[in-house]
Symmetry: C2
Subunit: 390 residues, 2 copies
């Protein structure tokens, strides 16, 4: 195994939301330039680019995203590539960037995620997103993503007696957190009543159980740890970067009350970092739908299977609770530009561990986790972080 | 730098062509299973999957390709991801797989490339492929890929006095090579007259100057070199894996008579391997259009700028010539399933270096090169290979 370590040395984020006045390439350039400036380096110090995007071909008619990023950041002829694992594209871009540094191939690289989702009609976007599941056995028969997660929610509620009100508590908490995040798409509080009355999208999931369509980009600069120390005092070490997969379709899963890929990736990450769930100070998890956050906090080991919905309703995952979840506002409150999400989660972890989160700050944050899911759980990626040298 | 080395230990290829009876996932499974069998390992020995695909969202409505591959090869819960750099997607998948081994993260991984292009009408396919260039400043105004390469050909011919007949010699040679490749799409010879009379697609490029739309998949198993030696006597060492980028659109290029990304990637690869162009025994280069092969053999250093078309017409790039180019038949003769092409090039190099190429065999093949281009040259990837331990 490599003795090298990797650390995050700078971050850049666009506002998440509906960017009618900015194109995909504007979003990339904004996040990338901010990250370079935040790291306090010059573009010419970067040696490679790893960009996560899910469905640019269908959202904006553009592939060859790596080259587009290098070009619009003025970083030709750097090697630059796109990575895709549906909504986990940002996290696998980070993972590939990390491996490029561990390999000795690079010392400093940029990792970005971006999606421009509002340039097509929402039905078309739903169809593009359906490509994250099995288009032959699910999407073709009308099962878009709300429907797939509704099936998981239905099975979970039947098994454990969880209620729609308990699921609604996920959205209420995440909107409350997003209120204090200036980059969030939805900076407004919602109540349990608001969620309950927001209308079914796919029963039992209502509009406010669902994350939105979002435009946005996120970027981080990562570096070999010794190099990182020379550059900044705020470097955050990557303790573990793990990924696992499961069947592309729900019908072939062994269980519908958990995401096995999350469990496998988390287990490997805890082992690599020498940590247990109770050591984690906070986690950004993949709440594409409220039920997804409940699965995540159980599958990551924070709560016993079947107890996550109740725990959320009791406030145990709020800032100040047992384990603060999605302090950024999560996908629900902050928004979910699918390719950017995994990288944006990491930026929240970076800021929390550097005590830069203001009203969202978790006290004594020592170990941070990010958890990013592709599709209905066919990919899961887990990262663990701490301050470098602590 | 890592002291580890990487070697190819097995290969698998589907026939290239129009597969009306096989889906994308059948093609993946066929190539992947063949590669595992050819390497003489079991699936459970594989630790990660790197899949190259350009535009699956637009060709078959499916994203989340990494998970799909793992699932249909029965390799869950392995980490699996998709990499995209337009027509160079296969080569950057290999590059990422190589880095994962150099990093110490993995010892044995599968690298695949696949594209199913014939399930949409050819105009729609051309539009999807146009996403490899700048969709805002090129494709939107009607400049599909034949048009972009026709601009390059026009400029080159004006500069150096090259003729359409000289360009046609590329197609004639590559069809002649493909005749002896049982996996090739076009196993028939063509003459200069055939090419000249095949009708303009985008002047000066005619139908037979253009590579076809193709379905196909290719896979290789790669391993850390010490591990590779334990597994097989036919391991091929990766001496260098280099990538470079350029502007996404032609209009912003500094020169239209070369691809700078090819030059940069090749220079780095030669340096890393300690080789010069004259050391190379054969090369698989990116002949998406006849003019592209001429650019490649010059930019890779085999022929002086401006002399490649004449050299080709004189037979210098035939098997048995100064430097055999595209012994497989190239993209023109073998076919060009875009995501699979880079991996298929590597399979030709593997077989040539293992003296398995039968009637296409290059005598005393010692050092092999592959060269894969994305779009009109915004990405170029160069790999160098030799027999492991020689």
């Amino acid at each position: 195994m490599s003795e090298r370590k990797v650390a995050i040395i700078g971050t850049g984020l666009t506002r998440f939301g509906e960017h009618w006045d900015k194109s995909y390439r504007h979003l990339i350039a904004e996040a990338g330039a901010k990250a370079i400036e935040n790291a306090g380096i010059e573009g010419k110090e970067i040696e490679g680019i790893f960009g996560g995007t899910m469905a640019s071909g269908r959202f904006i008619g553009q592939e060859h995203i790596g080259a587009l990023i290098a070009d619009h950041l003025g970083l030709n002829p750097l090697p630059s590539l796109r990575l895709e694992a549906a909504c986990a594209s940002g996290s696998i871009a980070l993972r590939a960037g990390i491996m490029s540094i561990l390999s000795g191939e690079h010392d400093v690289v940029a990792v970005g995620g971006v999606e421009k989702m509002t340039d097509v009609q929402s039905g078309e976007a739903g169809f593009a997103l359906g490509g994250a599941g099995d288009q032959e056995t699910e999407l073709f028969f009308g099962a878009t993503f709300p429907a797939l997660y509704a099936l998981l929610a239905t099975r979970y509620m039947k098994e454990f007696g969880a209620t729609e009100e308990q699921l609604a508590a996920v959205a209420v908490k995440n909107h409350a957190n997003a209120l204090h995040n200036e980059y969030a798409q939805f900076r407004r509080e919602v109540t349990i009543d608001n969620v309950m009355n927001s209308g079914y999208i796919a029963s039992p999931l209502k509009l406010l159980d669902c994350s939105p369509l979002t435009d946005g980009a996120a970027a981080v600069i990562i570096a070999e740890a010794e190099k990182a120390k020379e550059i900044t005092d705020n470097a955050i070490e990557v303790m573990a970067s793990e990924q696992a997969s499961d069947t592309i379709d729900l019908a072939n899963r062994k269980s519908l009350i958990e995401l096995n890929a999350t469990k496998v990736a988390a287990e490997k990450a805890y082992k690599k970092a020498g940590l247990k769930p109770e050591d984690i100070s906070f986690a950004e998890v993949h709440d594409c739908f409220s039920i997804a956050e409940i699965f995540a906090i159980e599958d990551l080991g924070f709560f016993k299977k079947g107890s996550g919905a109740k725990a959320t309703a009791e406030g145990k995952t709020k800032i100040g609770g047992e384990i603060p979840i999605n302090t950024s506002g999560g996908l629900k409150g902050k928004g979910h530009p699918v390719g950017a999400t995994g990288v944006a989660q990491v930026i929240e972890a970076y800021q929390q561990l550097n005590n830069q989160s203001d009203k969202r700050q978790v006290k004594n944050a020592k170990y941070g986790m990010t958890h990013n899911v592709g599709g209905s759980g066919a990919t899961a990626v887990v990262h663990l972080f701490k301050r470098l040298g602590e």
